[in-house]
Symmetry: C2
Subunit: 335 residues, 2 copies
């Protein structure tokens, strides 16, 4: 399996011509082209992408950095990304940060060493220091952020309107006649969770209903304790009739807790989550939620990046509008 040189020798044309055939850019006579292609097939020729990359400065590789690949939101995004970039002949390299700034910087570094043509990333929850990221933004390597962005100006990003999503969710509870609503909020250091909280508060105030916010972000690390404190809250506020959880997983835990406490959903309490995770349609009752259009987010980010690859465009931030997914957990049985 020789290279371009062997084909040149076989066909009697020059290296350059052979190269042109494979980059079907230049004008090559149909005859020569055919001759070259035939020879290529004969020796089962496969272009050496590395060599081309080195010489041309284009690797045809796009780096993707996510907190965790085994998280349905991010894997849906990756799916979206993969679809559009592979259609354009790019490969994707994936790195995980596990929400650590250190790993994030390492990943970024690694991608630069690989000479990736562009980077798609969602920053880790922990990241506070943007110097490394700023360096890339200033560099020639295009980068676009999705879902979570650094608080820097002039960046390319595809985001979800979390405020709006929370607002919609909250209004939906109110529409379903809830008058005393609780928000289980996520880690306040993470901007998207803060936005959701703000959206909740805004909607509650707008419609003048009673509301309550409770931070409870550690469900994964410490489920026992969290569920106990949840129990306390529900006991202390028996008049709560609607709950908006900052995420679907938390919502499911709530659903089970409410069930344990013999509080019926949606009869006594209505419940809505956020994220429209794959399992939210499968619970009993099924869980109303806010869809994040994760796959679309991946596609749009990838498209934005590809666009920047062609010609450096002005920094653009695209904001997606989340959609309400009504299911049984917020059904108003009186209506």
């Amino acid at each position: 399996m020789g290279g371009i040189k062997e084909i040149a020798k076989m066909t009697g044309v020059s290296l350059a011509t052979v190269s042109r055939v494979f980059n079907n850019s230049a004008l090559v006579s149909p005859k020569t082209r055919e001759k070259v292609l035939k020879a290529a097939k004969d020796i089962d020729y496969r272009p050496n992408v590395m060599a081309a990359a080195l010489r041309s400065g284009k690797s045809k590789i796009i780096g993707v950095i996510v907190p965790e690949v085994n998280n349905s939101f991010f894997s849906d995004i990756i799916n979206g990304i993969e679809g559009v970039v592979s259609d354009s002949g790019f490969n994707i390299i994936i790195s995980q940060t596990h929400e650590k700034q250190e790993r994030e910087n390492a990943a970024l570094n690694s991608l630069l060493e690989l000479n990736v043509d562009g980077i798609l990333m969602s920053i880790s929850k922990e990241t506070k220091d943007y110097t490394q990221i700023q360096k890339i933004i200033d560099s020639k390597t295009p980068i676009v952020f999705f879902d979570r962005r650094p608080t820097l100006d002039a960046i390319n990003a595809v985001l979800l309107n979390n405020y709006l999503g929370a607002y919609i969710a909250t209004e939906h509870l109110i529409d379903m006649d809830c008058e005393n609503i609780l928000h289980i909020a996520g880690n306040p250091d993470v901007s998207i969770f803060e936005e959701r909280k703000k959206g909740f508060v805004a909607a509650a105030q707008k419609h003048r209903v009673q509301y309550l916010v409770n931070h409870l972000p550690n469900i994964k690390s410490n489920p026992e304790e969290d569920l106990n404190s949840l129990k306390d809250i529900l006991k202390k506020h028996p008049n709560i009739d609607g709950i908006f959880a900052y995420g679907d997983e938390m919502a499911i835990h709530l659903l089970n807790l409410l069930n344990t406490l013999k509080i019926e959903v949606p009869k006594q309490v209505k419940l809505i989550g956020f994220g429209n995770a794959n399992f939210s349609a499968l619970t009993q009752p099924s869980l109303s939620s806010i869809d994040q259009e994760s796959s679309l987010m991946g596609e749009l980010s990838a498209n934005l990046l590809l666009q920047n690859l062609k010609r450096k465009t002005k920094p653009t931030a695209k904001v997606l509008s989340p959609k309400l997914i009504r299911r049984e957990s917020t059904k108003n049985l009186d209506q």
Copy 2:
């Protein structure tokens, strides 16, 4: 940000010496090493992996091919792989096949063009023609299969003992006093589903209980119809008291269907799935299942590949033993 050459000029040593420093292989005097390292820091030097790859023939990239990244089983595996290989300084390129042979071959091709050092893959459900794969096995690029393997000899693979998993699941139902059990089987063209079916039948026969097998693989493409035919089966066989579903998602659908039919789980019918998906602990009742140790499978495959990278070893097939996860859906309320 110059290259090795610039550092050589700055420090007054030769290119070769600088190169040696970064491959901390050769014997370089501590002084020179330090000098070089300092210069490198000064100009924020980043090695060009592509160039090194081209010259040395080692890309430090590993290709991973999976049917779908947004599938919790595969994304868990990817997580396991990523952990192992990134610790060893490798990057991973990910391609999806969407269960299409055509895409699989394209991905394989693409990886070879990139000169990946090794390949980790799970073949698509559709793949029947192994010529492309055989070519790679014969080539110098190490490849190891996980979860789904081609029916070829002398391959490296990390697999799950699906037969055993099904056997265990079935025995568990029988232990919980089920005497009339149903297996909802997956697509018979997929070997892992066939193995599960065989394990089920073997366990049922061994313990001399009544059993029934029903193929119902299209739950995703045609849920309505499938659920209806399920309903028919359950009505036709009202004495069924235990169900083993070939996958957790199917099991959840069953759970909901049984609920609709006012058949209580686990009181009247006990239900067990396969896969231990993330949502199976969250349902009401929680779903018993068979754990596939997906992350471990990823780690083992990656380790096997890395081992092969160092020195071509004899083809090895590792078979993991699945584990029973008991939850509420199979609880014996009489015991």
